[in-house]
Every structure is written in structure tokens, then in C-alpha cells.
């Protein structure tokens, strides 16, 4: 069963426009949610995680347990935000970790 769903494979926005990358999850326990980012020619790295409640590079994500969503948002997109973004879920049992299929974000100058 698909644990993490990212409905958009590709997303293009203009510089300065708001951006939202969608993530929905399916898990009956208490998950920890993450957003990872992979810039061109760089390794996959953590962008932010739910428990830290930080804003990283202007991005925020709110866990909505009712809608089982963890959408990533930024009010004003920058060109350097162009990257592949993965939503991920860490299970509270069994050490399992699940990634979504990723969303490729392109910010148009």
C-alpha cells in the first residue's frame, strides 16, 4: 500500500509566486513526516521535518492529521528552489521509512 503520495510529478511556478508541494500519507500509527530535497548534482538531504517545526529556506510544512497531509509551502519562490522534493514518512514501529515518488519543482525566472 502506498504510504506517501505526491500527486504532482512536475510543478512549475514563476519566481516570486507562492509554491505548494502536496503530500498525503496513509499510516495508522504515529508517523514522523519529513521533506527531503535533491538539488542538481547534489545528494539527497533533509529540508525539514514536522517535529522541529522550523522554517528552512523560507519553506514550511504543517501536519494536518485530519486530512493526513504534510504539504510544503513557500510564499515567494526563488530560482534556487528548483530541485526534486520528496516527502517521507518514518514509522513508529519497525524502523521503516517510506518515500513518495517526488515532485520536480522548476522556478521560472
Amino acid at each position: 500500500a502506498q504510504r506517501v503520495t505526491q500527486p504532482e510529478k512536475l510543478l512549475s511556478v514563476f519566481k516570486g509566486a507562492p509554491v505548494e508541494l502536496k503530500c498525503n500519507y496513509s499510516y495508522s500509527g504515529s508517523p514522523e513526516l519529513f521533506w527531503y530535497v535533491q538539488y542538481s548534482r547534489q545528494r539527497l538531504q533533509l529540508l525539514l521535518r514536522h517535529i522541529s517545526r522550523e522554517s528552512i529556506k523560507g519553506f514550511t510544512a504543517d501536519l494536518n492529521k485530519g486530512e493526513t497531509s504534510f504539504h510544503l509551502k513557500k510564499p515567494f519562490a526563488q530560482e534556487e528552489d528548483s530541485a526534486m522534493y520528496y516527502c517521507a514518512l518514518g514509522a513508529n514501529t519497525g524502523n521503516q521509512f517510506y518515500f513518495g515518488t517526488g515532485t520536480s519543482l522548476t522556478v521560472i525566472p
Binding site: K9, R43, L44, Y86, G90, N95, Q96, F99, T101, G102
Partner: protein
Amino acid sequence: DVKVTQSSRYLVKRTGEKVFLECVQDMDHENMFWYRQDPGLGLRLIYFSYDVKMKEKGDIPEGYSVSREKKERFSLILESASTNQTSMYLCAGGWGGQETQYFGPGTRLLVL
């Protein structure tokens, strides 16, 4: 600085060859993971290990095996490489199921 390293950035192998991909971490991670990354499919977990000599199957273990003889090293083995195993392979380390994972640079494997 966190370091997860992978033995090769690029590998070209022939069908039927036995292939070893090595991953080393220097952060004393309990858990280590092997994923393959394919366009449109995201990251799919092949195997993970939560302790030395311990391993668990992920979502796509068929055709792969792993070895963890030391805490810092986690090897992925393709017993008999096939063309459908052409992919980017990512290794990661972490301290627990709900903790951040730290990724290596990846190994791009081409099986001819």
C-alpha cells in the same frame, strides 16, 4: 561533518555479473538503508539494517542481498545483475525509524 560515502559513483557491469556496492558511514548510525531511485518511482527501499548482522527486507528485495559485518559498513549485493537493475542506488544512515536519514552521493549502475 556527516559523512556517508559510497564506493563508486558510476559502475558498468554485464548481465549475470555479481555486483557489490559498498556504503560507509562515520556517524555511528544504528540504522542503514539501501534504496534505488528511478524517475517517476521515487525512492524504493531495498533492504535496511538496524544492527550489525541484522537485516530487514524493504519493498523490493528480490534480486538483492545485503551484508553488515561492521556497524559502519553496509553492502548491497546483486547476485546476478540484470538489465532491470540499472538504476541509481542510494545508501543512507540514521539513528532510528523516525530520525533523519543522511544520504550518500549515490552509485549510478548500468547493467548491459
